[in-house]
C-alpha cells in the first residue's frame, strides 16, 4: 500500500497569519513566535486559543497569529490573561512577553499569576535588553553589559543585579512548568518547540501556571550581525541563564 505522503516537509503553519512580521532581520523573536503558532496548530488549539501581546517588540504580534488576540498594557499581560481565563476557562490562553515587560514593569503581575496557579502559558522572551525603545538596560541585562542606559557597562552596585526568572518562579507552588530554552540552533529550536507544546498541554490539563523562557538575540541593539549575535548568546547569556527545567510537576512520573 502506498499512502500519499504530504509533499510539504516544512511550510508556514496555519497558526500564523499571512502578514510579514516586524522583527529586525535575524532576530530570534520570529522563531519563538513561529514555535508558539506551530504548537497551537499541532495541538489543534487554534480555534480555542486567545493570545496576549505585550508592549515591546512583539506589541503588534496580534497581527501575526490566526487565533483571537488581545493587546495588553505594559507588563499587564498576566493580569489580562487572568481575566480572560477566569471568564472562559475552556479557552487556551498565552501571553508573549519580553524581559522588560515581564520582569520589570510587570513583575508583580507575573509573580502573582504564577503563585495563584493561573492556568495560563507565559512565553518569556529574554534577550537581556529593551528592543523596541532602542536598547536600554533590562532587568535581565548582564553585569558589565553595555546598553544605551548603561554606557559604561552594567554596574551592579548602581543598577543592581539581573533577575533569573525561571529560578525565581520555580519556588512558587502554583507553577506547573518553568523551563528555560533557547532557539540558537536547529536542535535547540526543536527542544523549545517541545517545551512550548508541553506548557500548552499542562494548561489544558488544568495543572497550573506554565512559563517557557526563551533566550533570544537582539542583533540590532547588541550591535552584532545575526550570526555573531548567536555566538554572544552562547558565550554570555547561557552561562548566566542556564538552560533547563526548573520546575515540572510531572517530573518523575
Amino acid at each position: 500500500m502506498t499512502a500519499e505522503k504530504n509533499p510539504i516537509l516544512f511550510g508556514r503553519t496555519a497558526g500564523l497569519s499571512e502578514k510579514v512580521n516586524n522583527f529586525c532581520p535575524g532576530c530570534l523573536h520570529g522563531i519563538a513566535q513561529r514555535l508558539v503558532a506551530e504548537s497551537i496548530d499541532r495541538l489543534g488549539l487554534i480555534g480555542q486559543t486567545v493570545g496576549i501581546t505585550p508592549v515591546g517588540c512583539a506589541v503588534i504580534a496580534y497581527e501575526f497569529y490566526s487565533c483571537d488576540m488581545v493587546q495588553a498594557a505594559h507588563g499587564r499581560a498576566p493580569a489580562v490573561a487572568t481575566g480572560l481565563k477566569r471568564a472562559r476557562p475552556e479557552n487556551t490562553i498565552f501571553t508573549y512577553q519580553g524581559d522588560g515587560d515581564l520582569a520589570s514593569i510587570g513583575m508583580a503581575e507575573t509573580i502573582h499569576a504564577a503563585t495563584r496557579g493561573e492556568n495560563i502559558t507565559v512565553i518569556f522572551i529574554n534577550n537581556a535588553i529593551y528592543g523596541m525603545t532602542g536598547g536600554q538596560l533590562a532587568p535581565t541585562s548582564l553585569p558589565g553589559q553595555i546598553t544605551q542606559t548603561s554606557p559604561y557597562g552594567r554596574d551592579v552596585k548602581v543598577a543592581g543585579n539581573p533577575i533569573r526568572v525561571c529560578e525565581l518562579l520555580s519556588s512558587l507552588d502554583g507553577v506547573a512548568l518553568a523551563q528555560r530554552v533557547t532557539v540558537n540552533s536547529p536542535s535547540n529550536v526543536r527542544k523549545a518547540g517541545k517545551a512550548i507544546r508541553k506548557a500548552f498541554e499542562y494548561q489544558n490539563e488544568g495543572l497550573g501556571f506554565t512559563i517557557v523562557e526563551i533566550l533570544t538575540t537582539c542583533p540590532t541593539n547588541w550591535g552584532l550581525a545575526p550570526n555573531k549575535a548567536l555566538g554572544w548568546l552562547e558565550d554570555n547569556l547561557i552561562p548566566y541563564y542556564p538552560l533547563g527545567v526548573y520546575k515540572d510537576i510531572k517530573a518523575g512520573e
Partner: protein, 369 residues
C-alpha cells in the same frame, strides 16, 4: 417583586450588579468600598461567578480588561487612590472599546487624603480617568435605591456604547442603610453575544483582535473620531437629571450624590421662608445634563452649585448656563459635610444677586454673615 429590604448602599450595588448578569469581580481592598467587595466574595461564588482579589488595583483593572475582552459583564470597585491606579487600565479599555463597570466610592484627596465622603474626584471621573482623548460614562446615585438601579444602567450603557461606565458615589451612600427594591435578576446567558469578543474563533470566523494601538496617525484619528461620534450620540440621548421644584425657582441649585441630599433639606428650609428655590440633580455626570440646565435658564435668575470639593462640577454648570446668569459655588472639602443651614445662607446670597465662590467659612456663614 415589589418587596423592599434594608441594605447598605455598597451591598445594594453589589447585589444589583449580580442581578444585572455580572459574574466576575476583580478588586483590591480599600476603604470605604470594603462592603461591596466583601459582598461579592460571599455571593458571587454562589451565583457561579468569580471573585478574585488581585495583587493591586493595576492588576485588578487589567483583569477587568481581559474578562471584558472575553465578552462577559465584569466590574471592579475601589476608592479614589485606587481609581488613580486604575487609570491606566481604564484608558486601555476606552482605547480598545471595552465595556465594564468601575465603582468609585469617592474619599477625600489628594494623596491618601481621608476616608470621609467626598466629591473630589469629579474632574478625574469626567475629564481624565486615564490618559488620552476619550471619555467614560459616569453615573451619580444619591440613594441606596439608586446605587442598585444605576448598577444595571451602567452595564446596559457600557454594553450599548462599548465603553467603560463608572458609578461615582461616596462613603456616605456606600455605608448608609435604606430600603431598596432590588431589580429582577438577569441570566447572563440571556445577554446578547458580543461578536467582537475574543472567545476563540472555533474555526468559524476570522480572528478577533482587542487592541488600542493605532500606529499610523490617520488610523488613530479615525478611531478617536469614530468614538467621538458615539460620544455625541450619548450627549444627545443619554443625559439624565432629576428636577425638584425647578418650575418656579428663582435660584436653581445644582448638586449631585450625597450633596443633593443636603441641598434638598436646605430647599425645604428655604421654601418654608417663601424663597423660590429648586434643584437640578445631575444623574449622568458624563454626559453632563446641559439640556436640563439650559431649560431652567428660561425662568431662573441665578444658579448655585453645591459640592463636596472646592468647585469642580461648577465648571460644567457655567459651560451650560446661557444668558449670562450668575453661577455661584458653595462647598466643603476634605470629607467635611455641609449643613443645610450653611446651604440656606448660600441660597439667600444667590437670591440677593451676589456672585460668589465660597469655601468653608463655616463660622461666618452660620452667623449669617
Amino acid at each position: 417583586m415589589g418587596e423592599k429590604i434594608l441594605m447598605k448602599g455598597n451591598e445594594a450595588l453589589a447585589e444589583a450588579a449580580i442581578r444585572a448578569g455580572c459574574r466576575h469581580f476583580f478588586g483590591y481592598p480599600i476603604t470605604p468600598q470594603s462592603e461591596l467587595a466583601a459582598y461579592m466574595a460571599k455571593y458571587l461564588p454562589k451565583a457561579g461567578g468569580v471573585y478574585l482579589q488581585a495583587e493591586s488595583e493595576v492588576a485588578a483593572i487589567n483583569m477587568v480588561y481581559g474578562a471584558s475582552a472575553a465578552g462577559v459583564r465584569v466590574m471592579t470597585s475601589s476608592s479614589s487612590p485606587g481609581i488613580s491606579l486604575k487609570g491606566e487600565g481604564i484608558s486601555y479599555m476606552i482605547g480598545a472599546d471595552l465595556p465594564g463597570l468601575i465603582v468609585n466610592i469617592n474619599r477625600g484627596g489628594p494623596g491618601l487624603g481621608s476616608i470621609q465622603p467626598s466629591q473630589a474626584d469629579y474632574w478625574m471621573a469626567t475629564r481624565a480617568t486615564g490618559h488620552g482623548d476619550g471619555q467614560i460614562i459616569v453615573l451619580a446615585p444619591s440613594t441606596v435605591q439608586e446605587m442598585a438601579d444605576y448598577a444595571r444602567l451602567a452595564f446596559e450603557l457600557g454594553d450599548r456604547y462599548r465603553m467603560p461606565a463608572m458609578i461615582l458615589a461616596d462613603g456616605l451612600l456606600g455605608q448608609m442603610m435604606e430600603p431598596v427594591e432590588l431589580p429582577e435578576p438577569i441570566d447572563p446567558k440571556s445577554l446578547p453575544a458580543k461578536d467582537w469578543a475574543v472567545t476563540g474563533t472555533q474555526g468559524k470566523r476570522k480572528n478577533n483582535k482587542v487592541n488600542s494601538l493605532r500606529l499610523a496617525a490617520q488610523d488613530l484619528e479615525d478611531a478617536v473620531l469614530e468614538r467621538y461620534a458615539r460620544y455625541q450620540t450619548i450627549k444627545e440621548t443619554e443625559q439624565l437629571a432629576q428636577l425638584e421644584l425647578v418650575d418656579d425657582a428663582e435660584v436653581v441649585v445644582v448638586a449631585y450624590g450625597a450633596a443633593s441630599r443636603i441641598v434638598r433639606s436646605a430647599i425645604m428650609l428655604a421654601r418654608e421662608e417663601g424663597i423660590k428655590v429648586g434643584m437640578i440633580r445631575p444623574i449622568t455626570l458624563w454626559p453632563f445634563p446641559t439640556q436640563a440646565i439650559q431649560a431652567a435658564c428660561k425662568t431662573a435668575k441665578a444658579f448655585l452649585t453645591v459640592e463636596l470639593n472646592t468647585g469642580q462640577m461648577v465648571d460644567d454648570v457655567r459651560l451650560a448656563v446661557t444668558q449670562g446668569l450668575p453661577v455661584s459655588f458653595f462647598g466643603h472639602s476634605g470629607g467635611v459635610v455641609p449643613t443645610p443651614t450653611e446651604v440656606l445662607v448660600a441660597i439667600k446670597k444667590a437670591l440677593a444677586g451676589e456672585l460668589f465662590h465660597i469655601l468653608p467659612f463655616r463660622s461666618k456663614l452660620e452667623a449669617g454673615d
